[in-house]
């Protein structure tokens, strides 16, 4: 019964989506206020339908209804409750339904918070979102229905891939999807603006918070995914330039560019055409990323059920959405009007540089990801592009980004001079140089440079605050008063930029990792990276759907105990698969990382790592996302403000 209810709710949502895709757009075109006013209710109707549908899927999963094919293939009675819930979005079918749910949440958010928007713009944004949602909901219903029944139902399910049974991964997809799909809102705003034929500062002010929210989620989602591969896969790696990872990095790069170019639209009404293209491009990359991964075209370590037949449907959908929006762009972009002028050395100029560099990095990553496919298709060559290519091409492009990041916020709008900005950063440069020199004592050239760059970015970001509160130039109390008067968005910029610095420092530190694989007998002590690792014993443990072998390792340095690590090797009973549970002890300056391998003749294979600064990689991402939230909190106060000043508009008319 419940699966049929979910099925029906999905169909209901599609009915709403059809109305949502047609009526508001038609109303906005004809200037029919009633049709435009219908938009929010339709978006909310669609949201309610999909929420009900997804709730049914979770219910079916929790109650172990193996007559539903999707559950039978991905669940098991013994699977812990948490993973039965998260399993709802862990399977292919469930993840697509979840994707649709988030898209409808975007529509609902615009419906609920979009009150102050001009009626025609809101109607168009909701209409475009409805059109996009319609496509993917049809795909769910026709090609990947999560409620398909199975007869006769099996006694028990096939269980989920044990690697995916992890709390980190349980929260990874929702946050990542929020990021991916969140870019649908800037996309819808861009298409709506093209249909309206106008973009102004108010548009920029509207798009920024949505972009920021999506960007925060994407940042956190990518970081979570990378952290997961660090502590679950047990290779000690955190980023593999795998197609799936690149698919999430690409919209992040263009999304970051969009975040910055939208500032220029908001403040200076320049770069309009470019910003619209970026908004379309970012969502296009999100879409292609999520869906090409599922078509099986991209060769990846991340497994998903692959089915070329589904791929064709998805490709048609992508062609319609991306092709359609780019066609509208080509036709309507000239109506957006010319932009304000600015000199090359100015805040706008710096933001343009940021855009050029970020988009170049994105282009390089895209090339590296797709080149093997195209070489295979066109030239019939089998090649693989690995980390060396990405490192060699991304680093030289990232370096100027790092360099410019500290300087750019010091420049003024329209026209600035580089000299005074650089003078204000003298102490930052000095410290960065010292850090780089110090790092070069123990590190190779590139990581040492990266450490210097990290110091430059972190302190450069702080210098912006120091400059604004005129620290040491006015009495201290005065500075503190200024500090409290600063806008939250200023802290947002600082945190965002400093966070990237922290991540870069972590990456540089990780390149110094010490790793050894050793055969150790219980009772033996080995020395790795200046620590004594004592294998105290081996034992057996039992989980709900697995049996584990646990090693107890006592780590000490110069006789002082530091940590006890108990890495596990888990044998899952239903999937006959073994996973390793790495154990990590961190003090935020270094990670001690232990993995238990096979056992031979009473001795255990242990892989022991000392990873310097490893936690900083994800800490930095967290700081970046926090910076975004800071900006967002500031913006929210003004979200009601950007009503297009009707009086000003009336005055400008002759």
């Amino acid at each position: 019964m419940i699966p049929e209810l979910g099925h029906f709710a999905l169909a209901l949502a599609i009915a709403f989506a059809v109305a949502q895709a047609i009526l508001p757009l038609w109303g906005a075109h004809r200037g029919d206020v009633r049709l435009m006013q219908a938009a929010p209710a339709l978006a909310l109707g669609q949201l309610i339908g999909l929420t009900a549908s997804f709730a049914c899927l979770v219910w079916v999963s929790v109650t172990d209804d193996f007559s539903v094919q999707n559950i039978a293939e991905n669940s098991h009675t013994l699977k812990p409750l948490l993973y039965k819930i998260t399993g709802a979005w862990g399977s292919h079918e469930g993840s697509i339904l979840f994707w649709c749910l988030i898209l409808s949440i975007c529509g609902g958010a615009v419906a609920l918070f979009g009150g102050p928007l001009p009626a025609s713009l809101r109607a168009r944004v909701i209409g475009v979102l409805g059109f996009t949602a319609l496509g993917f909901e049809l795909f769910t219903l026709i090609e990947s229905n999560p409620f398909t029944r199975l007869w006769p139902p099996p006694l028990d399910g096939r269980d989920m891939n044990p690697l995916l049974q992890d709390p980190g991964l349980a929260s990874h997809p929702p946050i990542l999807y929020l990021g991916y799909v969140g870019f649908a809102i800037p996309f819808a705003f861009a298409v709506a603006a093209l249909l309206e034929g106008r973009i102004d500062a108010a548009w920029g002010r509207w798009v920024r918070p949505w972009t920021l929210a999506a960007w925060c989620c994407l940042t956190a989602g990518i970081a979570l995914g990378s952290w997961w591969s660090y502590y679950v896969l047990g290779w000690g790696g955190y980023w593999f330039w795998d197609p799936v990872e690149n698919a999430s990095l690409l919209p992040w790069l263009t999304g970051t560019a969009l975040l910055h170019s939208a500032i220029v639209v908001e403040k200076r009404e320049a770069l309009k055409t470019w910003t619209v293209l970026l908004a379309i491009g970012t969502f296009a990359l999100s879409l292609s990323g999520t869906f090409l991964v599922r078509s099986g075209i991209l060769n990846s370590v991340h497994s998903f059920a692959n089915d070329p037949a589904r791929g064709v449907f998805i490709l048609g959908l992508l062609a319609l959405i991306i092709g359609g929006s780019l066609l509208i762009f080509a036709i309507r972009a000239p109506t957006l009007g010319n932009s304000g002028l600015f000199s090359a050395i100015s805040r706008e100029g710096a933001l343009v540089l940021n855009n050029i560099l970020l988009c170049s990095i994105a282009a390089v990553v895209l090339t590296g990801t797709l080149y093997p496919l195209f070489a295979d298709l066109l030239l019939d060559m089998k090649i693989s592009v690995g980390p060396p290519f990405f490192q060699a091409t991304v680093l030289p492009l990232a370096a100027p980004v790092f360099g410019a990041m500290a300087v750019a916020p010091m420049l003024s709008w329209k026209r600035a001079s580089l000299g005074p900005a650089l003078v204000r950063l003298w102490w930052v440069a000095l410290v960065a140089l010292a850090v780089g020199m110090f790092a070069s004592l123990g590190m190779k050239a590139v990581p040492a440079l990266a450490m210097g760059a990290a110091a430059w970015m972190i302190l450069g970001a702080l210098a912006e605050i120091v400059e604004r509160i005129r620290l040491f130039r006015v009495p201290l109390g005065n500075s503190v008063a200024r500090l409290f008067a600063l806008k939250l968005s200023t802290f947002g910029t600082t945190l965002g930029h400093a966070g990237l610095g922290v991540t870069v420092a972590g990456l540089a530190g990780m390149s110094m990792t010490v790793e050894q694989v050793l055969l150790v007998r219980p009772g033996e002590t080995v020395q790795v990276a200046g620590y004594d690792w004592h294998l105290a014993g081996m034992s057996d443990a039992k989980g709900s759907n697995y049996n584990a072998r646990v090693a107890t390792i006592e780590v000490s340095q110069d006789g002082v105990p530091i940590a006890t690590l108990s890495p596990e090797r888990r044998a899952f009973t239903t999937q006959t698969m073994t996973t390793t549970e790495a154990k990590i002890s961190t003090n935020f300056v270094r990670d001690l990382y232990a993995v238990l391998g096979e056992e031979r003749d009473g001795a255990a294979v242990l892989r022991l790592h000392m990873n310097p600064l490893a936690p900083w990689i994800w800490l930095g991402a967290l700081v970046m996302a926090l910076g975004g939230l800071c900006s967002l909190a500031d913006r929210r106060l003004r979200v009601a403000a950007p009503k297009r000043a009707a009086s000003a508009e009336a005055l400008s008319r002759p």
Partner: protein, 173 residues
């Protein structure tokens, strides 16, 4: 005019990407494009020398007509999936010869009784040695050998509907 062209450029890039991906998806179905696979070294080469209990290279050459060679095993679940497809091909008069790969004889026989026997001849590669010579990456795997004994086509995994049409074309002409 130039500005117009510039604004059309993103659409052009997207179109090229879309057409390419479409070509890839098509290729994946017919077996001509496999992003995961390593290319078979056997394509357009004469079939390797082997002699098994059942048949060998000499038997295939003596046939003087195209033949489909299918590696399978009773322990392979996708092979069960593929069984009805092969039976249909057999009924359509496509000659299919099977090699049971690393499989115990009674198990193979039970498998064929249960799911049907589409093979005109069956050879048994108990040690998996012939599989290595052919460069088999997994079962099921299907090859087409032309009348002159040259390997013309390979497909890894259970045959899809599109692959079946390729097989019918190649193996009956």
């Amino acid at each position: 005019m130039n500005r117009r062209l510039l604004l059309l450029a993103p659409l052009g890039v997207a179109a090229v990407g879309g057409v390419s991906f479409w070509a890839m998806l098509r290729g994946m179905k017919t077996g001509t494009f496999d992003p995961r696979g390593i290319p078979s070294q056997m394509i357009d080469k004469p079939l390797p020398d082997f002699a098994l209990q059942g048949f060998g290279r000499a038997d295939i050459l003596a046939l003087k007509r195209p033949v489909v060679l299918n590696f399978f095993a009773s322990w392979c679940v996708p092979c069960i999936d593929e069984a009805p497809t092969l039976l249909t091909l057999n009924r359509a008069n496509v000659p299919i010869w099977g090699i049971a790969y690393k499989d115990k004889v009674p198990a193979t026989d039970a498998f064929l009784t249960k799911y049907g026997n589409p093979y005109r001849r069956i050879a048994r590669d108990l040690a998996g040695q012939v599989g290595i010579e052919w460069g088999v990456t997994g079962v099921p795997e299907t090859y087409i050998i032309d009348a002159a004994g040259i390997v013309r086509w390979r497909y890894s995994g259970p045959l899809s509907v599109q692959a079946v049409s390729v097989v019918t074309q190649l193996a009956t002409t």
